[in-house]
Point group: C2
Chain length 322, copies 2
Amino acid sequence: MAVYTEVSDEALAAFLAEYALGPLVAFRGIAEGVENSNYALRTGAGDFILTLYEKRVDPADLPYFLGLMEHLAGRGLPCARPVAGRDGVALRRLCGRFAAITTFLPGVWPRRTQPWHCAAVGEALARVHEAGADYPARRTNALGPAGWPPLLERALAGHDAADALAPGLGAELRAALARILVAWPADLALGHIHADLFPDNVFFLDGRVSGLIDFYFAATDLLAYDLAVCLNAWCFEPDLSCNVTKARALLRGYAGLRPLAAEELAALPVLAAGAALRFALTRLYDWVNTPPGALVVRKDPLDYVRRLRFHLGARDAAAYGL
Amino acid sequence: MAVYTEVSDEALAAFLAEYALGPLVAFRGIAEGVENSNYALRTGAGDFILTLYEKRVDPADLPYFLGLMEHLAGRGLPCARPVAGRDGVALRRLCGRFAAITTFLPGVWPRRTQPWHCAAVGEALARVHEAGADYPARRTNALGPAGWPPLLERALAGHDAADALAPGLGAELRAALARILVAWPADLALGHIHADLFPDNVFFLDGRVSGLIDFYFAATDLLAYDLAVCLNAWCFEPDLSCNVTKARALLRGYAGLRPLAAEELAALPVLAAGAALRFALTRLYDWVNTPPGALVVRKDPLDYVRRLRFHLGARDAAAYGL
């Protein structure tokens, strides 16, 4: 669940008084999301989402995230739009945290992805990349390749948890990391990437993408890496086999709008391996460090280790149906 | 959080096709609640709540619960109303569970109760009791006095957890239970009780009660016991002291509509002790039996042990400001 901070009636009333959104009508915690506290908020002006940014989000990054959402929404992307208070400021304080109200997006995220979802999300991702081209801010990807070695060491440090999860896992991850970093492409197109465009961050309505949410991992990084994240997130079956039909749909959906350069195509296996490693590492860190009784379901790191093995075994983009 | 069952797009679409509610617009998990899975559902016809009944709810009880909600809503109480499918049936199946759609209620539940909340909830509870008088079904309270001895034994069985939590806790609870059962009043007014009317089950809007939810512990039992549950739930401070101003407001709010009989007044301390014991026992059971990594936050049983001690020390209703 994702309500870490309870907002008192008085605090909420005082906060809403800073906006021209009319009277409070309803306020309910939202189950989805794991990083921040999210509430469905209804006022006289309609429906909104109230997000309180919790400790994993660096407040210094919030203007980048909110600015990117605003920028993309202004370019016609179905992103939540930050709502400013009466003073014109969207990023505010509530209950000792930074907080923002954003617009409500209709739609439902797909619990089971189908090839047409993959095609649609590929196209939406390409639109994000195109529309982001003239967003002037920058943010280093803290969870990009430079962040993986320290993340791996933190996840493995002082614990046998990795090897308890699967014998030899620590050594396997170290070897995979070394191999990925050596092969990492240096000169692919850069831009603003979502970096976490999983199915629960994409709403669909009437067969179309109706919402793109949770830009709180967005960063300036290789565009094709963003696509590699989606390959991992959208195109593997519950038995962790790669569904080539879905992969092809995703890649073609993307390339139909933003054609992939030959270097991007060639780098897909290593980019996808890096993306799988990134999620394996954060999941492993959380697995080792989530206290019993915590609010969050721990996600199995091995799901991404299996994807990682698949990508390391892929010779070229043909592994993804191209 | 309270989303235990993920509903696939296909299953949701097929389920909604059984209703005349127009097209699906949005579908989000709700964080509140611990027993069932709850979703905020928006269709062309407006906003609703979709509940999937999880394993703690006995399906045989669901017609009683839904019938009571419908009955009370029909009497003007702000209860969620079950929404029937095209065939006139409200209780249906979804994803292997019983499920129902109910109407959306506006309002916000109070994170910090104030005396005026207590007065309003007392009045609302009296209205529930009055309006329920001609609801013909019956349901034995599985968590009433007859259920406490086996619940205590299950919570204490095979574990040192109770005494690990507080030395001597097991013996204290056994002694309290014996004392409460001996003094339990036999001949007070019976009726339909909510039995779990905690602040997160009561919405307020514009200074009035706008919603009463979660009737899934409702039963036929002593009406004054329901009030004793509210005394525990609404009138204790974070330091677990009894706030007599709030208790008085609650009792007066209730008695203004449904005057308390002399026997009910006299029994308040033991009824309140029984209610505190009931929540101490279910919390203790959950404390001992909730696996690490579970979705639910374990609530401290000692919060209710402290209330229990207060009530066992109360000589009469003067302890609650009357």
